[in-house]
Amino acid sequence: MKAFAAAIIAAIALGVLAMYALTSNQTFAYQAFATSGARVSEPGVNLVGPKWNGLPVLGEANDAAHGKAEGEASHPKRS
């Protein structure tokens, strides 16, 4: 039982250590993999803008980033 309890404690302790070690070296994807062409997940500057709501329809939510869309809105097909 002592060996089992020690194993659980050690597993948690090593897990916490791993958490701190990994987190200290972690960067956001837009920082780590940024290119001059496209930036992913950088709020406010990325292609979809800060108010993107995830809906696959062009409309008011994207106005801040792209301006008012002109003409008839497209209707992307859902896969």
């Binding site: 002592k2 060996a3 194993a7 050690a10 090593l14 897990g15």
Partner: protein
């Protein structure tokens, strides 16, 4: 696999050990550090298995049952545990390989054990050293699959460090496929170490097993241990050499 094990249990029943004059006496099978390494690896493996299965099947199987909000919280914690507990798991595998490698080198005794059905078929117990051929199979499965899961996992944990996106996708597929086979193998290991064989759990529970059990399942190891101990009975030459 669980159904197969249940079917086997119904067919074979629990593997028992006949009482002898040595029943009741204890012999140390695994010391405290060996049990520590085993249980650290085992507990991490269980959490890694469940959280890993959640990556693949959780959205389709679990989310309809518990709802998206509970699933979201659970999946996030599962992801954390998978990434962080992978480290003590990898360390545990390395320690166990270091501890038990010398006792898990295959030899002719293992072949005789396999030919005799390993005690699963019939009621005899073929000769075995500290680990029989089945246990050696588990050891090499853990060593090989553990290494493979560690390497493929690290490739995903550190994206683009060594591989491009295609390489990481390949690693993900290998990680998933080996993971499923690994879980199946460990389920069989858990079965035989608990329900399937009377007395087997004590080896990793208290570390001590009944001497009659040890004599039945690991007779050559018992003789080796007793030959080392001045107070214990010496080698009796009761059994013929297993390779003969």
């Amino acid at each position: 696999m669980i159904a197969a094990l249940a079917g086997f249990f119904l067919w074979r029943g629990r593997i028992l050990t006949d009482d002898t004059q040595e029943s009741g006496k204890k012999i140390l099978r695994f010391n405290g550090f060996e049990r520590f390494a085993h249980w650290m690896t085992a507990t991490c493996f269980i959490i890694l298995s469940l959280s890993g299965l959640n990556y693949i099947f959780g959205k389709r199987l679990l989310m309809p049952l518990i709802g998206p909000e509970a699933f979201g919280a659970l999946a996030q914690w599962a992801k954390y545990s998978h990434v962080y507990l992978a480290w003590p798991f990898m360390l545990g595998v390395v320690i166990m390989v270091g501890l038990w490698l010398k006792d898990n080198i295959p030899n002719r005794i293992d072949w005789a054990w396999i030919k005799a059905g390993g005690g699963f078929i019939g009621h005899g117990h073929p000769h075995a050293e500290r680990f029989n051929a089945g246990q050696k199979g588990v050891f090499w499965m853990v060593a090989g699959f553990g290494a493979a899961m560690g390497v493929t996992g690290l490739m995903m944990l550190f994206p683009f460090a060594l591989l491009d996106i295609n390489g990481m996708q390949v690693m993900q597929v290998i990680h998933s496929l080996i993971g499923v086979v690994f879980i199946v193998g460990i389920l069989a290991h858990i079965y035989i170490g608990t329900l399937g064989m009377k007395g087997a759990y004590d080896a990793m529970g208290s570390g001590e097993v009944d001497l009659a059990w040890a004599r039945a399942h690991h007779d050559l190891w018992v003789e080796e241990q007793q030959a080392k101990t001045a107070s214990g009975p010496q080698f009796t030459g009761r059994h013929p050499a297993p390779a003969e």
